[in-house]
Subunit: 335 residues, 2 copies
Amino acid sequence: MSPTEQILRGERRAIARQISGIENDRPEARRVLAELYPSTGRAYLLGLTGAPGTGKSTLANELAKAYRRESKTVAIISVDPTSPFTGGAILGDRIRMHDLAGDPGVFVRSMATRGSLGGLARATADAAKVFDAAGFEIILIETVGVGQAEVEIAGLAHSVVVVEAPGLGDEVQAIKAGILEIADVFVVNKADREGASRTVAALNMMLDLTHNTLPKTVLHHGLLMEAAAAGSDKNPGAEAGWRPPICQTIATQGKGIDEVVRALAEHRTYQQASGVLARRERERLIFEIQQLLKERLLADLLTQTPPEQINAILEQVVERQLDPYTAVEQLLVGE
Amino acid sequence: MSPTEQILRGERRAIARQISGIENDRPEARRVLAELYPSTGRAYLLGLTGAPGTGKSTLANELAKAYRRESKTVAIISVDPTSPFTGGAILGDRIRMHDLAGDPGVFVRSMATRGSLGGLARATADAAKVFDAAGFEIILIETVGVGQAEVEIAGLAHSVVVVEAPGLGDEVQAIKAGILEIADVFVVNKADREGASRTVAALNMMLDLTHNTLPKTVLHHGLLMEAAAAGSDKNPGAEAGWRPPICQTIATQGKGIDEVVRALAEHRTYQQASGVLARRERERLIFEIQQLLKERLLADLLTQTPPEQINAILEQVVERQLDPYTAVEQLLVGE
């Protein structure tokens, strides 16, 4: 049986091998991805992000268990956009193993950066496609840490949960992390801690201030996006109408999890009814093609240009005899 | 007088106008940048990063004052890689205005993202060039928040200060943020707080574990970098030999700042003597050209392809009739 067929049948070793192939950017893995692609588009992608210390991993674990109780299959992708040796992703896996190990309806996989942020976002998107094609119904993408990387990776998901916790120094960590705008559902975890009601109140105040008045963060942008918009009659439209609910949980005790699952189901229904889901999916795919296209164009140019010529131009820039913009023009002409 | 001449003479309004032009990607601003380029390469670029709540802005302020006491001119670029409306950068400016306003040897400028992380890193690099050409001796690049974005922006700097503070929930926030590896100097700020010695001890332990045994985070990577390395006899080499010192400060009282300035001077001397400075600068410039090149190649391709054709291909991907990799091939052939 071919790797593609094995993955479509949900064979775990084939899935694991394919994701390793994606991480290492093997040509064979790309070929398999192309074959899997028509079988994707059925899974529900759920993003989970928040500052360190909010209990994200425990919450991801509990959400997975809740979906399992509904007999849904769950894949968890734990993404660490920081360094390959912070160990965050590995720790998360160990915690989860205890509860979820041995369940064939669950697949946990960590992905760490190999130096490139863009590469990691792409690898995560491709890993999600593998799980999707393999028939996993819920794909939970959990990020370690906070920042623009997390915002971009969360942009892969259909619904984004932003996790907060009281007592982390700031009332609402997402404000400083800049991830407030991407939340579809807020979770205040560790709700039994002092300050939980203050965190909920701060979030509510923030939503009062920003809901329907401020633009959504533009996750997917660039020239191909603009071209697609110009050549299409599909109107981006506003995403008004959904105010992110605020759920309170004590993930370590499994409390409040059902409420989060319910909020997510409501968000999904809203998105389908409003057409937001189809639009987000479209934007995501176009952005993905744009990134692939840029890499390919650069690779082609470099294959066609003699290395000596490239280096001669680069040296002139280093010596400040040539500015970067002019250097780019020269590299293009040398094609 | 031309804008270029005005900037070279250090005229503040011309500088401000040029940086706005960079942020908005005006063609005129690119032309001026090319003209300024031969006059760059003299400033000392200093990166300052750390988790929210560590007192980064106050420290930046105090460092600026210390350099002013040495009669050095200072530009502060406050970068917020999160949303345009978190207000972090603006707050930072307000704090600083009090101390530094009216000093012609200081220039404070905020830069916020306009949706694109890559765009912000480029705009920050270009803004630094403007200050460099205008004769500012120290350019302090301060990031708001933590994450891969900060790592990339810090990669612009010659020396990187990572700020920690006790009592933020984790002993060393940089571990979770993944910015530990990019530090040239550590600062434990709020050193009068309980737990400061624990934070210093944790950092020392971390350095004992990782120093000279783990690779530096690769900030600049990609195909052009590889081509440059292949066609050059310049060996990347190891960056062993420098163990980041740990300074303790109470920035709000101006305590310990001189020690940080001294540590940075030592790092600079080390870098010059070891050749690391020249290598970092070279890598940074090549990476910059690579990013510009990718954007230009994509722009050229899109100009040459009829919008209807682009959209027909994109729609097939959205309908799952075509996978993204094959779509890229078709867009390239259609050129």
